[in-house]
């Protein structure tokens, strides 16, 4: 093989490896620190995946269900990254310190929609205590582009002007109802760091 071609191949391999997601196992029954924000107590074993600084936990794979721990979101930051439309008309949706839970729910709905989710419906925004703090919760549902229906819920609170959120979602058929109780248990026992 030509030297330049070999170098190119090595560079491509390195770039590919760097782009790979790392997956580690989370054992049941042991408290686990999630970023700098939470400590949780999983009852079952999960697969832990890092996605853009957030952690995503799943048993059967993120396409079927996952719990996502969103890192602390600062004033002016998006909830999560969505593809840039390239349009100068678009003003990207971002979190603003002091947003009410109703506005956070709107922000979530808009961000999900801009990320490609179809017919996103957020409902039932309500108060919820998380790790001893006043927080909020809402339910959501959407369809993928291919028409797979997903259900989910989100909990969150603001601490030091930054938003912390946890999502759990799964396929409407089976995976959301099957793992919902485990996700609820983990949220009930969450410790805020």
């Amino acid at each position: 093989m030509h030297r330049a071609t070999r170098l190119l191949a090595v560079a491509l391999l390195c770039a590919t490896a760097a782009a790979c997601q790392s997956i580690t196992k989370v054992d049941a029954g042991k408290p686990v620190k999630v970023g700098d924000s939470f400590r949780v107590h999983p009852q079952i074993a999960w697969n832990r995946i890092e996605v853009g600084g957030d952690e995503m936990w799943t048993v059967h794979g993120p396409l079927l269900h996952y719990m996502r721990f969103i890192k602390a979101i600062d004033d002016g930051d998006p909830l999560f990254k969505v593809k840039d439309s390239g349009s100068k008309d678009v003003k990207a949706p971002v979190y603003r310190k002091g947003m009410s839970p109703l506005e956070v729910a709107e922000l979530f709905e808009t961000t999900q929609t801009m990320g490609g989710a179809q017919k996103v419906k957020v409902s039932g925004v309500r108060p919820q205590v998380l790790g001893g703090r006043d927080g909020f919760r809402f339910d959501y549902a959407y369809a993928t582009k291919g028409g797979l229906l997903k259900d989910g819920f989100a909990v969150g609170f603001e601490k030091d002007g930054k938003l912390r959120m946890i999502l759990f979602e799964g396929a409407h058929l089976h995976y959301f109802p099957a793992y919902r109780e485990r996700a609820e248990k983990m949220i009930e026992t969450i410790e805020v760091l």
Partner: protein, 424 residues
């Protein structure tokens, strides 16, 4: 440019018109034009330009076309259909498909009326997609986007757009493009391009247009031809053809409001809106129009879209394209149908943008919505959010309380109560 066509083709167009939906009586062009434009007074079209317009329209014959039959397996067209079938089969379960049978039936009915004898070859899907578009695939699948239903004002305007798409279908423009691309590219690109170009409709598919960049002038001719067919088809279905030009006036307004650079791929491949508007307005009086008792179909259209309009408006707001969306909303406000809902949507647009001064603009719009007397209760919720953000807690609590008073069973009632009590 649209080529001049033999005048004899007028006879074919007349024969076609005789096969139209409903009462087949055909009005004389100039008489009909005078009726439409002047309420029955003097003729509104100069003889020379009317003759030119008639000559152009004579080229848009439908009777000699025979789409809707599956092409033979050995043909290039069969390859195109195979690829297109894959795309359109996915549409049946698409996540953004509007499933309301009533709205689907209404839109399909308009498409069918315009398609006339080709109705049985067409399948129509309404999709929740907040942009101005409709598209028709070579296998007879028509998709109509929710954004289109917000940007036309009556059934005649909807008929103009779907008629344009049926024009593409009848003239097999997709096949023409397919063959042109095949000749210009190698085999791999040939097949990759197919799915991208499928459904290039009124607005077009950016990816497809990027790929077929060299064919843009060709596409413009297709669009002009489809515009002409759209006029002929809506006329024979009994719709007022002058409504076609008005669609483009609405679209031009949004384009003018956009910060995006002119000279986009869409602009390069489609005649400019103002040019389309002028040409459609020039040709409209010469279109043969079947008699009918309601050439605009405004009330039918508004009644069909009404149950969905707020959801469609929310989709537009979520795009966060403030200037074009505002232009669209202002157009709806001028149209006059249920203004409270539009004032509320304008208020939401300001509130969600949240720039300096937007809170007060939002409150102004909410006040107009409430003054109209037919505003949704959620306006009070939004008023409360604006006051809360501005630190006016008493006003916020009052607005939230009013919201709960009107909708005590609201799905977010628990959160609202919590906020009234000083939480969050």
């Amino acid at each position: 440019m649209i080529p001049a066509r033999p005048l004899a083709a007028v006879l074919a167009a007349a024969a076609l018109t005789a096969a139209c939906v409903g009462n087949p009586k055909v009005y004389d062009d100039s008489v009909r034009a005078a009726q439409v434009m002047d309420g029955g007074g003097t003729a509104g079209v100069a003889d020379e330009s009317a003759a030119q317009a008639r000559a152009v329209l004579a080229g848009y014959q439908v009777a000699s076309l025979s789409p809707g039959q599956r092409p033979a397996a050995s043909t290039v067209e069969a390859g195109l259909w195979m690829q297109i079938d894959r795309v359109t089969n996915r549409m049946q379960s698409a996540g953004n498909r509007v499933t309301d049978p009533a709205l689907n039936a209404y839109v399909a009915g308009v498409v069918c009326r315009v398609a006339g004898e080709y109705c049985n070859s067409v399948r129509t899907y309404v999709l929740r997609q907040p942009a101005f578009n409709a598209a028709m695939y070579p296998n007879g699948v028509m998709e109509v986007w929710s954004g289109l239903l917000l940007r036309v004002r009556n059934e005649a305007q909807l008929a103009a757009v779907v008629g344009h798409e049926v024009g593409h279908y009848l003239r097999r423009h997709s096949l023409q493009r397919f063959e042109k691309i095949r000749d210009a590219t190698n085999g791999l690109v040939f097949f990759q391009v197919v799915t991208a170009m499928a459904g290039v409709g009124i607005v077009g598919n950016v990816a497809a247009l990027a790929t077929i960049g060299g064919l843009q002038a060709y596409s413009r001719d297709n669009e002009r031809e489809a515009d002409g067919y759209g006029l002929v088809l809506m006329g024979r279905a009994g719709y007022d053809p002058r409504e076609a030009a008005k669609v483009w006036a609405n679209i031009q307004r949004e384009t003018d409001a956009s910060d995006n650079a002119r000279g986009s791929l869409f602009a390069a491949s489609h005649p400019p809106s103002d040019e389309r508007q002028r040409e459609l307005a020039r040709l409209a009086p010469a279109v043969t129009v079947a008699t009918g008792d309601d050439p605009l179909g405004r009330e039918r259209f508004l009644a069909a879209v009404a149950p969905h309009r707020m959801a469609f408006l929310r989709d537009e707001i979520k795009k966060r394209t403030f200037k074009p969306t505002m232009a669209m909303l202002e157009g709806l406000l001028e149209d006059g149908d249920r203004p409270a809902e539009i004032h509320y949507a304008i208020g939401e647009l300001y509130r969600i943008r949240g720039d300096d001064g937007d809170g007060e603009k939002a409150l102004d719009s909410y006040a107009k919505a409430l003054a109209d007397g037919d505003a949704p209760a959620a306006v009070h919720r939004s008023v409360g959010l604006v006051h809360r953000k501005a630190g006016r807690q008493d006003e916020a609590r009052a607005a939230f309380a009013r919201y709960l008073e009107l909708t005590p069973q609201a799905e977010d009632a628990a959160m609202i109560r919590f906020m009234i009590q000083g939480g969050s």
